[in-house]
Assembly symmetry: C2
Homo-oligomer: 299 residues x 2
């Protein structure tokens, strides 16, 4: 497989015609014929069905097409990005699926706004898969937990959170600074089904003989926040999630936390990664410092 062959291939797809594709590629028509023939030989299938006066893609050709497009696109992007003094334009970000989405999407949105010309693409996955993607170069940077094995990756911790009790500010608990776990027995609770620490929290409750009354289950933090603020129940949440109308209090007997940071390959650190790291580090985690007005509630 060769790049020039893929260029021929695309030219034929786009002109629908070997001869015109040859013109467009500034080569003779036989050159194109043999080029495609070689490509077909290597792939072991025909790519075009040559009927009289009309050629069309075969199923194999249709399968090749998106790859060919991507490859040619990448070649052009590489040329224009490598040599010039132009800034880097593409951040491929890996995202831990269990991470708190709202705050991270605020970070990514703000970064995108601050660097309007940068293309950001996001892939979600589990921690192990993110590491694999980093190794394979499928992503540039990952937002994930610190990897256990040392493997050529740099880690910069960004955020750390503890799980606390979310209550409406109008609740009688709101004036207190620490809630004994035992007082939560039989109270109405919301369950954040997507939270990866939820099982640990449930265990902690059970060990203390406390059984909350689960009123709702949801896999979305916004919904949970809105329902807590509307007074439908309490909820254990990362202290970084917050909203007007909600107070977060530590619970005596619960000390569960997580931390998350940026991961990238040491050898492949570049301007863009550095700039994203700096942005993320200085990006306020707590809502009063967060710049994303769209996520704020307004009267």
């Amino acid at each position: 497989m060769d790049i020039y062959q893929l260029r021929y291939f695309l030219a034929i797809v786009e002109t629908g015609n070997f001869s015109r594709a040859a013109e467009r590629s500034f080569v003779s028509q036989p050159t194109l014929s043999t080029g495609i023939k070689k490509l077909e030989a290597e792939l072991g299938t025909t790519l075009f069905s040559r009927e009289a006066r009309k050629i069309s893609l075969t199923e194999a050709g249709r399968r090749l097409l998106p790859h060919a497009r991507t490859i040619i696109y990448e070649c052009n992007a590489a040329k224009s990005e490598v040599s010039r003094r132009s800034p880097l334009r593409r951040l491929q970000l890996g995202l831990l699926r269990t991470a708190p989405t709202q705050r991270i999407s605020a970070l990514v949105n703000d970064f995108a706004k601050a660097h309007g010309d940068i293309q950001i693409s996001i892939k979600e996955g589990a921690a192990a898969q993110l590491q694999r993607w980093l190794d394979e170069g499928r992503v540039n940077v990952a937002l994930s937990i610190r990897p256990e094995t040392e493997s050529g990756l740099s880690f910069a911790r960004l955020y750390r959170w503890k799980y606390m009790l979310a209550i409406p500010t109008s609740h009688s608990f709101a004036s207190r600074s620490l809630i004994p776990l035992a007082e939560l027995d039989r109270l109405d609770f919301l369950h954040r089904t997507h939270c990866e620490a939820e099982s640990e929290l449930t265990r902690a409750f059970a060990n203390a003989g406390v059984s909350p009354n689960i009123v709702f289950r949801t896999d979305q933090d916004d919904k949970a926040l809105a329902l807590v603020s509307a007074g439908l129940g309490l909820c254990m949440m990362p202290d970084i999630l917050s909203a007007p109308g909600i107070a977060l209090l530590p619970v005596d007997g619960i000390n569960i936390g997580r931390s998350i940071g940026l991961l990238w390959r040491k050898t492949e650190e570049n301007d863009l990664i550095r700039s994203f790291q700096m942005f993320a580090t200085s990006h306020g985690w707590y809502p009063e410092r967060s710049g994303n007005k769209n996520l704020a509630w307004a009267r």
Copy 2:
């Protein structure tokens, strides 16, 4: 630029050494040297800084790296996907940014679950950009509105919705089947800031001399739904958004709707696109038919 040169480049990056990279690539060491030299000449920069006993990537090299990785990855993927009878494995989906996210993410999630081996990547954008991406082959399929100009694209309408009044089921309106617009004057309302029809709705209200009292603004449908169900205000919403505790009623004097469907290039229709289209068509739009249990609330 040539594929073999990029392979050499990657081999050097991964071995950190010309000689070992040559072994790994089954060529002689001078072959590698001249290959890289040529690549450097074409790109107009050096890619490696050759210090004694130690080579490292230059900034230009670091910029090239992700492109090179993508290109080689795509070449391999193309080979393994084109010839064999293997099913297609990658769906590049374009998503209209103003589309109702919740329902669409349910569709995509369900499709991903049903075809566990398929990689799905999503790009969001405005309608015009989605069309451009389709043309450039950056996405396979787009979920968007019907394009105005005929341009080699197929369109299959999937969903159509009208904007209706969302109220809590406990509300006094709930027993009625049609609400006159005039009755909404001065009532508490939520504003869905991200909704692209919101300005048209606001105009309709204003034309009728009705001025609702905006209590909250949010850019997230879940939050809006939760707040309506908690009784904090009413909201104009697509009738496809629904949740327990919420009723949707038509408003007399408001007849605003939208429709959305799949877009793809006629000439590039393939197994995967067909299968996604069939899945999307048969995927229940209304919640009682939707298969995604994660999005449902449970007591």
